[in-house]
């Protein structure tokens, strides 16, 4: 459904196409004129590298495409290529990300900027192909910047923004852009495909710092057996990551000027007069917004805050959006087993010292392994939070959302698996 059409009155060259999330991020890599793509297949990521390999084969993209033998090699190749000054794109998912895990910390430590698209898929065991965010959030502490996307347009745009922020000399850190498997990777949506000339203006050539050259060797990632030296370099990474907040804001302004789309570290939805705010990220946010609409129709003052930039953590934006609200319902589509959601404690910490902090911050787990979240589940979470606020009480633990129809299905499958015992 990708008939090209000019939007009248919005300048020339604006091209609307129906693209899958996989196609959109492949287009972003192409428009960013990446030099090098190390690749390894894994469902639901493979479509991205299939598209890129086809473009490289046909000569439509001037890049080197290499099929590696594992994700560990893939990430090693990606990081080392970025250290030579190449603009690098790669993509993986779930088990693949974890298989290459130690290299994430190394690449970040080399201060080698590149963009990795993670196509979210829940982690084994038990094994599944459906999405949640335990894979991408496992990389939370690695030093990679993290951008989380709700729709296909955002997936394309944030890859471009990620290059701009990662390569900025105030930052120099690699970036992960997360797109949810199936819900974005294989779903076609209308996408405004940017003009190459505009992308060239937005993303000038990558200027590496101390690139590795055969003629001028540089040692990167050298051992530092003196403890304060290790601490010093880690603090440098942290400060570089914090710089990325302002760099992102500047880049987003430039992006808006060139492409007429606005991106901030967080996105507010019906927040102005809201007393209860649902906090979410990634593609299921669209369902959350629908739930907000439905609850608004019933007269409840509910809003939603979407977290788009997860690392660096946009503390100030979160404070600005959530201070003075009665209840905050944090829906984590991930679980830190034995604790609860991964983002909820971060939200709570951001708000703790405020006098006008919310009465209740309710941790909620939903959507694990792609489990759907129905309107009733959103309503239930909002009700629980407001009841706690009225009782001036706090939650006992995370609310684990589940439905009766699902319980019935699970019961029948457990019976089948146990041989009827």
């Amino acid at each position: 459904m990708s008939k090209e059409c000019d939007k009248s009155g919005e300048g020339d060259g604006m091209v609307l196409k129906m693209l899958t999330g996989s196609q959109a991020v492949a287009w972003a890599a192409r428009l960013a004129r990446v030099d090098y793509i190390p690749a390894y297949p894994i469902t639901p990521q493979t479509e991205i590298i299939e598209i890129l390999s086809e473009w490289v084969r046909k000569g439509e993209m001037d890049a080197m495409f290499v099929q590696m033998e594992s994700e560990h090699s893939l990430l090693t190749a990606a990081g080392t290529a970025a250290a030579t000054g190449a603009r690098v794109f790669t993509a993986t998912s779930s088990q693949g990300l974890l298989y290459g895990f130690e290299m994430l910390y190394n690449i970040a430590g080399w201060r080698a900027p590149l963009v990795l698209v993670n196509v979210a898929r829940a982690l084994a065991a038990p094994i599944t192909l459906e999405p949640d965010h335990n894979d991408v959030l496992a990389a939370r502490d690695s030093g990679f910047l993290q951008f989380h996307t709700e729709n296909v347009q955002e997936a394309l745009d944030l890859v471009l923004l990620a290059y701009r922020v990662a390569e900025d000399h105030r930052v120099l850190l690699p970036a992960i852009v997360n797109i949810d498997g199936f819900h974005l990777s294989y779903t076609r949506e209308s996408v405004d495909l940017p003009e190459q000339s505009a992308v060239d203006e937005f993303l000038p050539e990558y200027k590496p710092v101390n690139p590795i050259r055969a003629s001028a060797p540089v040692a990167k990632g050298t051992p530092v057996l003196i403890p304060p030296l290790y601490s010093f370099f880690k603090y440098q990474m942290h400060m570089a990551s914090r710089n990325a907040l302002n760099v992102f804001m500047d880049a987003a302004k430039e992006f808006e000027r060139l492409f007429s789309r606005t991106y901030a570290p967080v996105e507010e939805y019906m927040l102005d007069d809201a007393d209860t705010v649902i906090v979410m990220s990634n593609s299921f946010t669209s369902i959350g917004k629908q739930a907000v609409n439905a609850m608004r129709e019933e007269g409840h003052k509910v809003g939603l805050l979407k977290i788009r930039l997860f690392r660096p953590f946009p503390t100030d934006d979160i404070i600005k959006s959530l201070r003075g609200k009665r209840c905050v319902v944090v829906i984590d589509q991930n679980i830190s087993v034995g604790k609860g959601g991964i983002t909820c404690p971060e939200i709570a910490e951001a708000l703790y010292h405020l006098e006008d902090r919310p009465k209740v911050i309710l941790p909620v787990i939903a959507g694990l392994g792609g489990k759907s979240i129905s309107l009733e589940e959103f309503k239930h979470a909002v009700r629980v939070a407001n009841r706690l606020a009225s009782l001036r009480a706090g939650p006992d633990g995370p609310l684990l959302l589940f439905r009766e129809d699902e319980a019935v299905l699970v019961e029948s499958l457990l019976k089948l698996a146990s041989g009827g015992q």
Partner: protein, 235 residues
């Protein structure tokens, strides 16, 4: 807008009637009286739940066989969905079929056959327009109980694959002609699903509950004793 799981569909399109009865797929779930079900079937299907909703039938498999020569339904189903919605023009639909199949690297004549297939499907389907549906509060939130050792994902029942009636996937049905069959057992050896057993005289017996209709048996039979019929038994 609903994303991912659609709880209250305006339309449901089902590629084969056997899926209507599948307990894990449950395509009729969330359908209300003003929603529309399209079933790819040469004849009407009678089940109780279908009485409340509007059902449209079309023999897309027949059309796919006619135009493309294979039971490949994506262009046909897409065209029907576009027409049902009343939102997407014939031109856009055919343009999409052409472009998306070209993305897959298909040859021009195959793409053209699919375009013709999509065109006939589009033109022969009635547009019913997009309906707004009120959300039905079907779901009750429950607490998950801790089940101890029963909550460990171990599979204890062996041989449970047989419970899945994969015969419902079949589009073509292999039928052994006992007059031509010499009981050579080649089909028995080649069947990748172990769906063919031998009777006491050594003649093959096909288990249609699990035969997926891959037709390896038909291809391998040295006497051409296994004929093929299109499956239409689902009703």
């Amino acid at each position: 807008m609903e994303r991912g799981h659609i709880f209250n569909p305006s339309y449901v399109l089902v590629t084969t009637p056997s899926l209507l009865f599948d307990m894990t797929v449950k395509p009729l779930e969330g359908m209300a009286e003003d929603s529309v079900l399209f079933v790819n079937s040469p004849k009407e299907v009678s089940i109780e739940q279908l009485k409340k909703i509007r059902v449209i039938y079309g023999d897309l498999t027949g059309l796919a066989l006619k135009y493309v020569g294979k039971d490949i339904l994506s262009a046909a189903m897409g065209a029907v969905a576009c027409k049902l919605s009343g939102l997407i023009s014939l031109q856009s639909t055919l343009g999409a079929v052409e472009e998306e199949l070209a993305e897959l690297g298909l040859e021009t004549d195959i793409i053209e056959k699919n375009v013709q297939l999509a065109k006939e499907c589009y033109l022969s389907t009635e547009s019913v327009g997009l309906r707004g549906l009120n959300h039905k509060p079907l779901h009750k939130v429950v607490e998950v109980r801790y089940l101890g050792e029963k909550g460990i994902p171990d599979l204890l029942s062996v041989g449970n694959t047989a419970l899945r009636k994969t015969g419902s996937w079949r589009v073509f049905k292999p039928i052994v002609d006992k007059n031509l069959c010499t009981a050579c057992s080649i089909c028995y050896i080649y069947c990748p699903e172990a769906c063919i057993s031998l009777d006491e005289r050594g003649y093959p017996v096909i288990n249609y509950d699990h035969c997926k209709g891959c037709l390896v048996c038909t291809t391998e039979c040295p006497r051409n004793a296994i004929r093929v019929e299109r499956e239409t038994a689902w009703s």
